[in-house]
């Protein structure tokens, strides 16, 4: 199958599943349900749920059991963006080309809508009936994972950071959940140890490269592509790879990481091409 078609099809499946998993916006508390839907359907690329589905299918998983897990991961990603955009955090007015949630619904509702997506994600993860899957995600978003990275990111603002520090921030803030997406799919699909280990490693490299590319796009990207003001990292004095090692070195590093990620795929029997193309796709965004 053509990669463009594959992504489009998976994105539709994810969007339909998200629509089923989110509470009806005509059901009380309506404003909360509307706010949750506003952010979830503000036009994400659905990378994480697609990675979860691809991993599940790559190891032989069949049917729709992965969908609640994939939706849960996308909801967690969305909750983290909502809280990250708040005035007391990154203070962003635009996200994916649309006004951020707190600009439309107010800061208090944005805090609560994020919290509600966080809680709903665990309800959905439980539908997998696989405690290991739930645990992987919980661990990836805690103090040794996503939140740990966000704290270090917040504390690094306006300071000169080392390569080691920016690596910590990126591998935790972004990398851990991307890695967990791949692992959750593989575990639920019944991966053997070697395949799980290979896919984890792919997820790790992919996750770091993904965030480095995001940093690069903030410098060189088109605003209609990145969905927010260019140069906002610099304006907010954020810790980024281009700031620490320069633009060219950042591009080289992203490319190396994605090549390393692809090299881990040898063990895969199915869907190897999907993971290869996903890695290429990430790099092509800056290409």
């Amino acid at each position: 199958m053509d990669f463009g078609k594959y992504i489009k099809r998976k994105r539709e499946i994810v969007n339909q599943a998200l629509d089923r998993c989110l509470p009806d916006e005509n059901k009380e508390p309506k404003s909360l349900h509307q706010a949750m839907r506003y952010s979830v359907f503000a036009g994400g690329k659905r990378f994480r749920p697609i990675l979860a589905i691809a991993s599940f299918e790559a190891v032989g998983g069949k049917g729709k059991a992965i969908l609640p897990v994939a939706c849960a991961i996308e909801m967690i990603h969305t909750y983290s963006l909502i809280h990250d955009d708040l005035p007391c955090m990154d203070d962003d007015d635009l996200r994916r080309g649309k006004p951020t949630l707190h600009k439309v619904y107010g800061d208090g509702m944005a805090v609560l809508a994020g919290d509600a997506l966080h809680a709903l994600a665990f309800e959905l993860l439980l539908q997998s009936k696989n405690p290991q899957v739930v645990y992987e995600v919980a661990k990836a978003i805690g103090t040794e994972g996503m939140i740990g990275g966000q704290v270090k990111d917040l504390e690094a603002e306006g300071k000169k950071v080392s390569l080691k520090q920016v690596e910590y921030i990126h591998t935790h803030k972004t990398g851990k959940l991307l890695r967990a997406s791949v692992r959750a799919g593989a575990i639920l699909g019944g991966a053997d140890k070697a395949t799980l280990s290979a896919l984890s490693s792919y997820g790790e490299k992919f996750g770091l490269a993904f965030q480095i590319v995001d940093d690069i796009l903030d410098v060189v990207g088109k605003e209609e592509v990145i969905g927010k003001k260019k140069g906002s990292d610099k304006a907010n004095s954020k810790a980024t790879y281009p700031e620490v090692i320069g633009l060219e070195e950042s591009k080289n590093l992203a490319k190396d990481l994605l090549t390393q990620a692809k090299n881990r795929l040898r063990v895969l029997k199915n869907e190897k091409w999907v993971f290869e193309k996903l890695a290429d796709y990430v790099y092509e965004r800056i290409g």
Copy 2:
């Protein structure tokens, strides 16, 4: 055993377990771990974990399996208070007699510390190896539970609310998690259907009475007892029972609810006295 001694003992057990369950504050990210500990050890009454333990033991549960669940529930309660105290929500400077987390660590860190406690709670709930227990808590804190109540509470500020509305707010914002505390303990302890139903009903009545008493204390309580400025509900134009049905009627209602709660306990073989005393204790706070 004497009730005062019973509570003191359980509180110590809970505090020790919380200390074990929370990440070390000398471990990175230190500031985050310090912030989490600051709020969790700011002097809570530990009602929810004690209810969970009492239920577990009342239905014959033995050993320490309930402790991670009890800690998880207290962490969820703490996270909800941290977010609730933020300037964009209730904007409270004091909680339990100490400066609120955002006053000490900043708003951004308060958002993240709340999120981290939320995620850690699910890691701990999973230790129960009982999906029903995890589900009960997830459901109780979502849009049809705690967060739903908080949204309605936020939206009611400054407006005239009906008895039906304030009942919705209180049963959801406070009641659902208290009920879940009792249910989680009972389910993990292996309660039969009739006992679980009786304890749920106790938790429901207890939960509503608990919040009504909280409302009353905001009007008549001593500041050193309630740990924050008296009259803050009125100052923030919050929806409260005294505001809607008056102080005397609120007291009568709280007493009725606690009596009804106690009447559900007939089916209990063990620890019935604990639940009776807990109900009395809630009322005595305004007595």
